[in-house]
Amino acid sequence: MEKKLRGSFFTLTTLLILSITLTVFAAYKSHLNDADTVRFLQAYPNAQGTKADNCFLCHTGGTVEQKYLNACNYCHAEYGYKAPHPAGSISKTLNPFGVAYRQAGRNVEAFAAIAGYDSDQDGVSNEEEINQACLPGDKFDRPDSLVSPAVIYTREMLYQLPRTSQFMVVDTAKAGDYFATYTGVHIWQLLQDAGILDSATDIIVYSVDGYSSNFSVDELQKSFEQGIYVTKYPWIKFPEGAAPKAGQQIPGKLCYLLAYESNGYPLLAGKLVNGGHGDKVHLSGEGPYRFIAPLTTGVMPDRSQWSMDRDESPYPYNPNRPVLKNSDYCIKATVAIQVNTADNKSYQYDWSNKAWQMIEQGELVIYGAIKQR
C-alpha cells in the first residue's frame, strides 16, 4: 500500500481511498481523510493519536473461510477494495459502537448522541472509554482491563537473536516492485523468544501509522519456494552486485522475518511525509523494523497498477491471480505485535500514544498470549 488501502474506518459507501491531506492523524494513512475519521476527531479532538483513533473504533475482525482476520483484513475481505461491493458487506464488519454510530445518523452529532451509551456493554459509557483511550465497541477493552504480558525489544536485543538474511522480491500494486536482501530475525524465533504460548493462534502486526494485518501462527512457521531473479523489466528494481544471476532460480527458501536491515544497511526509521503517489501523505522509510512477508509462490511480479501500459504484456498488472502481493503484508515501521488465542483477540497493551517515540528509540513490543516475565 505504498501501495494499498488495507484498513478502514467505517467506510459505508465510497470512502475507501484517496483524498489524503497533510494533516497527520494516527489512523492509517489511506483512511486519514475518511469522513468518519474526521467527524470522530471533531467530536473527540483529544482522542487523536490514541488507540481509539483507528479503524477498530467502529470495525471488528471476523472469520472468513475458517481463518480469523483482524479489522483491516476482515473489512477488505468482506467489502473488497473496489466497487461493486457486496450488499451488506460493510455492516458485517461493524462492532456495536459502529452500529450505534450509524444508527444515530453517522455524523458529528451522532457521537454526542451515543456518548452516554455503553455500546459494548462492558459497564463503561462510550464517552468515558474514548476519553480514557479505550475502545467503546470492544467489551474486552475498558479502562480497568488487565494489561497483557509484554516484552519490549530494543535493537540490541534483536541483534542478539539469530540473524537471518534472504534475497527476495517485494511485489507491490502501484509503486513498482523490487528485489532486496532483508536481514533480521525469523519471526517464529522471535515469538518463541518472547514466550509465545502454545494456545496462540495468530498475531496482529501494527505499523506506526495504524495499519495492521494478521497472520496465523501456522503460516509464520512455513517456508516458501523462491522465484526467478529478473533484471530486465524496468518496473522491477534490483540492488547492484546481487549474488544470483539474472534469469536464474534464486536459491534457498523464504520465511517471515522481522527485518532490521536491507541490503546491508539498517532500515531508515519511518516518517510521514507529503509527496507520494498522488502527492499524498505516505510513510517514508521502512524501519527501524519491517515485518517481511514472502511471496508465497515464486511468480513474476507484474506491472504497476498506475502505469499507462499496465495491461500490456509481458506481465500485465494482474489483481486477480491467486497470489497476494506480498508488499501489502510487508509492514513498514512495525511497532507492535499482538499475539492472540482462538478466543481472545483483544489483549491489552496501549502502545498507540508512544508509537512514534518507539520508532525513534528503535523499540518493538510483543504482547498478548505470551508468558509473563
Binding site: T231, H277, N320
Partner: protein, 401 residues
C-alpha cells in the same frame, strides 16, 4: 406479396441473430452507442480492445450474467493461464461508474474463447457481482490479447449482454485497421533535469498525430511507456502525447534512480497505431558520489579528540544537507543508533561532510548516508545514492585527556 418478398429476408436475419445471441428471446434490447477503441488498430498487431457501451435500460449484473463478443474472421483472442507472461484475454474485465460512485467498479469473470475460421468469439461470464448499472452509464469491456486481422480494411464487432434478468442487450460497431506512421522521430534529445527526472524533445514527424516514449534499464530489455501517473488509468485510456517534448520521472514504476543509466526511445503514431522506434538513447541520472571517506572503509582508526570522534565523507561536488535524519551512525554489532551525531558541511570545503559523535572505543561502527541525504549545491534535486562504510574505533580513546 412485394411486402413479404422485401421483408422476409430481414425477418429471417433477425431470427438468426437472435438465435445466435439471444436464444430467440423476445426481450432483446439495443445497446446504445457501442464504440470500439484499441491500443493498436494495425494489421497483425496484438493489443487491448475496449468496447464502450451503455443501455437505455437498467442492467442487472449478477453471477452468471454473460457478455458475448464476436470479431470477424482473421482476428484471434489470445487466452492463456493467469500466471503466463501473456495472459491475454484471461484478464478481461468490465468497468463502470454509477451516479454517485467515486471510483470505477470492476467486474471480473470466467473467459472462454473460440477462434474459428469464420470469426472469433469470446464469452465472459461474470462472478461475484450483484449490482444494477443505471441507464445511460458508460460501461467499458476491456479485452487484452486480441490479435488483429492481417489486412487493412473495415470490420464489425458484435456485443451481446445477457443480464441477471435474462434480458438480452446487443449492439455492433465498425472499426478500421490501417497502417501507422512510417517515419521515425529524429533528433531525440534526453537531458537530466535532476536525479529523478529527465526531459525529452525531438523533431516533429509529418502526419504524426501522437507520440509515445518508452524507457528501459538495459538497451535490449523490456521497454515501458514513460508516462507518470498519479492515478489508475481510466478504462481503455491511451496516452495521447501530441507535443514533441516531455518530462518524466517514472513514479508509477518505482522511479528513476540516481546514478543509474536508462535508455529512451520515441515513436510517432496516428489513429491506427505507432510506427518504428527511434534508436535508444542512453542517459545517466546525475548523482552526488562519494570520493573517499574517513576513516577509510573497514579500517581500525584513531579519530577522536576532546570534542569526540570525527568522520567525514568527501563527495564529488559541493553539497548541502537535504535531510539530516538520513545521515546516521550505528554500532555495527548491536545496531544501536548513535544519537548525538553532529553533521555539518565543511564551510571551507563544501564537498566535505563532517560528522562528530561520541563513539565507544573498540567498537565497529557503520556510517550511512541514505539516498537523498545530500543535495548538490549547484544542481537542485541532484542527490546521493545510498552509501556507507564501516570502521572500528581505537580500543582506548584519548577523549578527556
Amino acid at each position: 406479396m412485394t411486402f413479404m418478398k422485401r421483408y422476409i429476408p430481414l425477418i429471417m436475419a433477425a431470427v438468426l441473430v437472435m438465435t445466435m445471441f439471444g436464444g430467440g428471446r423476445i426481450n432483446a434490447a439495443e445497446l446504445s452507442a457501442v464504440t470500439i477503441k484499441a491500443s493498436s488498430l494495425v494489421p497483425g498487431e496484438t493489443g487491448r480492445y475496449t468496447l464502450n457501451f451503455h443501455s437505455d435500460q437498467p442492467l442487472r449484473l449478477t453471477p452468471g450474467s454473460v457478455i458475448n463478443v464476436e470479431f470477424p474472421a482473421g482476428f484471434t483472442f489470445g487466452c492463456r493461464d493467469i500466471y503466463d507472461q501473456k495472459p491475454g484475454c484471461t484478464l478481461t474485465k468490465l468497468e463502470f461508474k454509477n451516479p454517485g460512485d467515486k471510483h470505477y467498479g470492476v467486474v471480473n469473470g470466467e473467459v472462454k474463447v473460440k477462434n474459428q475460421a469464420s470469426g472469433a468469439q469470446l464469452e465472459f461470464t461474470m462472478e461475484k457481482v450483484n449490482v444494477v448499472v443505471a441507464p445511460g452509464v458508460d460501461i467499458h469491456l476491456s479485452i487484452p490479447g486480441i490479435t488483429n486481422n492481417n489486412a487493412i480494411g473495415s470490420y464489425t464487432a458484435r456485443l451481446e449482454v445477457r443480464d441477471g434478468t435474462g434480458t438480452v442487450f446487443s449492439g455492433t460497431d465498425r472499426f478500421v485497421l490501417g497502417l501507422p506512421t512510417a517515419a521515425t522521430p529524429r533528433n531525440l534529445k534526453v537531458t537530466e533535469s535532476s536525479s529523478y527526472q529527465v526531459s525529452l524533445a525531438w523533431d516533429p514527424v509529418p502526419d504524426a498525430k501522437r507520440y509515445q516514449i518508452l524507457f528501459s534499464r538495459t538497451i535490449n530489455g523490456e521497454y515501458l511507456q514513460a508516462l507518470d501517473m498519479t492515478r489508475e488509468p481510466l478504462p481503455g485510456e491511451e496516452w495521447l502525447l501530441q507535443d514533441t517534448k516531455h518530462s518524466f520521472s517514472a513514479r508509477g514504476n518505482g522511479g528513476l534512480e540516481p546514478g543509474r543509466t536508462y535508455y529512451f526511445k520515441v515513436r510517432a503514431g496516428n489513429e491506427f497505431g505507432f510506427g518504428p522506434y527511434s534508436k535508444p538513447l542512453a542517459v545517466s541520472m546525475p548523482a552526488v558520489n562519494l570520493l573517499r571517506c574517513s576513516p577509510e572503509d573497514k579500517t581500525a582508526a584513531e579519530i577522536s579528540d576532546q570534542s569526540g570522534n570525527h568522520m567525514s565523507a568527501t563527495v564529488d561536488q559541493p553539497v548541502k544537507i537535504a535531510f539530516k535524519e538520513r545521515i546516521q551512525v550505528y554500532e555495527k554489532v548491536t545496531g544501536i543508533q548513535i544519537r548525538d551525531a553532529v553533521v555539518v558541511v565543511d564551510p571551507e570545503h563544501p564537498n566535505i561532510v563532517r560528522i562528530t559523535a561520541s563513539l565507544k572505543p573498540g567498537k565497529e561502527h557503520l556510517v550511512v548516508f541514505y539516498e537523498g541525504a545530500l543535495e548538490s549545491s549547484g544542481q537542485p534535486k541532484v542527490v546521493n545514492r545510498m552509501f556507507g562504510w564501516t570502521f572500528t574505533t581505537a580500543a582506548e580513546t584519548k577523549r578527556g585527556n
